[in-house]
Symmetry: C2
Subunit: 240 residues, 2 copies
């Protein structure tokens, strides 16, 4: 684990912000700061193919002056079972219809459960009152752990699992993006001054470039188009 | 992560068994095997002072012929906040009255939430139908994440978080020790042939010896006395 710290304002309430380095969590961080929280960003290096995301997270945390940024290495590869961590091909050039419905092969087993579990521990140690997580049920309805019912269930755990909860101060999960479209997220971030050129979304980058063809690239590109915002992403391919 | 495998019986249902190397989880493993499960043991090396527990877990898994044993390293020390992982003194020579009520300083923030989150991911990858966890609400009522309400809440997460859950096969949490006294656990294990000489409970071992004075040693010793079973533990001190 590595950590870099700015000096947090002592009077501000603290929040743990799950920061992947992608477009959604960069917007999430800006929303947490706008709500007045000292933002303790938490990024996981979990053997994902898109490790360049972790570097994006560092850039985003620094640019937005997070109170602190922690990177925790966890070994999800040992589990296998996902195209993001094992030798399974990342799907390319799928249509929106093909992306919805079934759980995609890029699903990582219990990923958000593991991330929230760590966030809960960190929140307890810090005395943070909230955990911000950028789950979104609109564009990625295929992931079981991005759904409102998942968030509600984990809130149930937070309500009983910690010393703070027993003492009547359970950590609160905050999911401001859960019902927003990608275009709405982008417009929100632009209003808050988020520099999306620092973020990374691609599941299968080609060096420094986004592939332009995986589900994530296609949804990102489409989101910028719908938002009427210039896409700062450098893509390797034009996509469909 | 390291792994050692025996060949699991292909026809048996699989379970993930959280194995600390202590007395309770050694009994838990025996119960999972008695119920016919192929037992995939999962042990966490989390920077605890009592790392000798991890070696005990290896011995127990081998002796009981677990289907597999995985050790995952996670860095809870980075969080601080517990006598088991940080530079806080482990309490010694406390009376039973002193042990109950307040949350002990040996509480590790969100520990069981983190352990169960990993177990859930592993269960999903393996197609395991159950997770066995040896939480106990009798002797350690001070830990918020050992209570029945915590287990119920995490079952709520398991019911929605995974692909298996969405498909109608949620992973089931099994907690056979939750309402047993230490003496009852020991008698159960003895009936199942558990070799408690392989297990380790002490929070603050002196080389190969148990300290004999921390809460865990005192509860263990008292349990053997109440069960009328000879205690195979080698203690450094006689305790109170």
């Amino acid at each position: 684990m590595s950590e870099s710290s700015h000096v947090p304002k002592p009077y501000a309430a603290q929040a743990v912000v799950l920061l992947s380095g992608g477009l959604d969590s960069a917007t999430l961080l800006a929303l947490a700061k706008r709500q007045g929280y000292g933002a303790h960003c938490l990024t996981f290096a979990y053997g994902q193919r898109h490790a360049v995301e972790v570097e994006a997270a560092r850039r985003v945390a620094q640019a937005q002056r997070a109170a602190a940024h922690r990177v925790i290495e966890i070994d999800l590869r040992a589990f296998g079972g996902s195209a993001l961590t094992a030798d399974v091909a990342v799907p390319k050039d799928r249509s929106p219809a093909e992306m919805t419905g079934d759980i995609p092969v890029t699903y990582v087993p219990a990923r958000n459960t593991i991330f929230l579990a760590y966030a809960l521990g960190l929140a307890e140690v810090l005395g943070a009152e909230a955990i911000f997580i950028g789950v979104n049920a609109v564009d990625y309805s295929g992931y079981p752990d991005c759904r409102p019912e998942f968030v509600r269930a984990f809130q149930g755990v937070a309500n009983v699992a910690t010393k703070a909860a027993v003492e009547g101060r359970p950590t609160r999960l905050v999911t401001p993006l859960i019902h927003l479209t990608k275009a709405q997220i982008i417009r929100t971030g632009v209003e808050l001054g988020v520099d999306y050129g620092l973020t990374h979304s691609c599941y299968d980058p080609v060096g420094e470039l986004a592939c332009g063809r995986c589900d994530s690239c296609q949804i990102r590109r489409q989101g910028f188009a719908e938002a009427g915002v210039a896409d700062p992403t450098r893509y390797a391919a034009g996509g469909r």
